[in-house]
Symmetry: C2
């Protein structure tokens, strides 16, 4: 049972969740710029975290719809019995967890559901750094590395959804010994340039290393190879680089410069304009989740 | 002036052009499976080749519309004064050549225009190996290496259009000495695995080398890295590999096997089903050009 904690007659309220591997951000509002309640829950077991999230929403007003930007891999096929599940994940305890269905049933409202990075790119497309772009990419470089794409206003799904962090860059000449930490691929991009991969080599986060430490050049090189490959494959108008590692001072500028060198101006683009930080700070995922909620109603899901 | 060489009362006729770096294939028909005239013109200078193509079409019946799948880079932005041009190309004499505008003006009909590989993926999507796919990729491995993408039925454009052949694979341990032949990037994929790159190393086409020649393994490795990156970036339901080099016996099977090994089953797909040869033989581009012509009328261009 829901409690009507606000006066009657207010506009429809949407719920929004950014479900991450470290924390769940929950919000309620008429839109992303009119949030009336917000909280954060640490990501523990599915029972604990999903239970606490549901209890928090149930303690508020009935929602018109809820949108969820979720860490993955997830099932996005609406015709699959596993739609809305986190599928086979490296995060202990979370494989085969029903997320979207659980919220839909308990909160009794339509649910929009996508990956965390597709949610983020949708947020940046509707209200941030990717406005007006036919093709834009959002990449998070943090505990893991992942990317979402939006093409003509629709987050890209395909067979499942992109897993962009698992490509194999060429190894930097000063970084040939490290085996990489990806449990699937060893020295793929995530295995070389994610936050844990940086800590595994140098014992600290990139921000904590002196600006002349070779790690800055090595990590910028890997991420620049990634951006050059994105340019070749997608011809995006915008590549947005977010996540904890991207908070490192000067990293974005290093990547812009190196990506231009790697591309040799072949892609006829301006790296300064194409590669950008998120415009919505750490709210891209939540803004996207509000959009997913709105779409769930529009699509009569 | 057009001559009405067929009886009156026949259905609308469409023109279709596959404009390649070696030859132009021209066709006229009510659709791709009812072609009433077809010819091939070698690609010489723009004046010669475009002049001969226009003369051939003018010698036939008035067209309802024409579609062109064109080698590139090309300008696809309908709002640009250079729309329909081949822009800065390595093919001598063809930079800054108006293609679509010229055909539209001289043949007095709407024009649909896209890259050769976007045309091919459109053809395979409407009538070939990519039917029913939300996301599919067509790659040609020949004189150059290029890829086109179709997402939710629409060829992907973005800032310009993908130039997929210019990514940098990791070098194969038995192929460390070769510098690569790409005039922009040296040892990018096109510089390592295109037909001319194969000839530059081993003096013959891949098909002409014995099945146990190490070249087969090396080229399959580079193309498998490419396919694994496509899987990570696009989550496509189909990757179609066409072009002259792909005519090499057993190459497709080698790539399927190696792509699976590289991906470590992370992308939850079956390489046997995802990676495929074109279904339309060497007609993908022409079938796509018929679709582009039809779209030009639907879009009232």
């Amino acid at each position: 049972m829901f409690k009507g904690v606000w006066e009657d007659g207010v506009p429809d309220l949407f719920g929004a969740i950014e479900a991450g591997g470290t924390k769940f951000v929950l919000a309620i509002g008429t839109s992303h710029d009119n949030i009336v309640a917000q909280t954060i829950i640490p990501t523990a077991t599915p029972d604990e975290t999903l239970g606490a999230a549901i209890a928090w929403f149930q303690d508020q007003r009935q929602l018109a719809a809820i949108g969820i930007s979720c860490f993955g891999p997830v099932e996005l096929d609406r015709t699959s019995p596993q739609w809305g599940y986190i599928t086979q994940t490296t995060k202990p305890g979370w494989s085969q967890t029903d997320v979207a269905g659980l919220f839909g049933r308990t909160l009794e409202c339509p649910v929009g559901f996508d990956t965390d990075v597709n949610g983020a790119v949708l947020g940046e497309y509707t209200h941030g750094a990717a406005r007006g772009c036919d093709v834009a990419i959002y990449v998070t470089v943090g505990t893991g590395i992942g990317g979402g794409a939006i093409v003509n206003g629709v987050p890209l799904h395909g067979f499942r959804h992109p897993e962009m962090g698992h490509i194999r860059p060429r190894r930097h000449a000063d970084d040939m010994e490290f085996d990489g930490i990806c449990s699937f691929h060893g020295d793929c991009l995530e295995g070389l340039a994610s936050g844990p991969a940086i800590k595994a080599r140098w014992g600290a986060s990139l921000s904590a290393l002196a600006d002349n430490h070779p790690a800055h050049d090595i990590i910028a090189d890997y991420l620049s190879q990634f951006c050059a490959t994105l340019l070749a494959f997608y011809s995006p108008q915008r590549i947005i680089l977010g996540g904890g590692v991207m908070q490192t001072p000067r990293l974005l500028d290093r990547i812009k410069g190196k990506t231009g060198q790697l591309s040799k101006d072949y892609f006829a683009y301006d790296p300064q304009a194409t590669i950008a930080a998120p415009n919505l700070d750490n709210m891209s995922g939540i803004v996207g989740a509000f959009e997913l909620a709105r779409k769930a109603i529009d699509d009569k899901i």
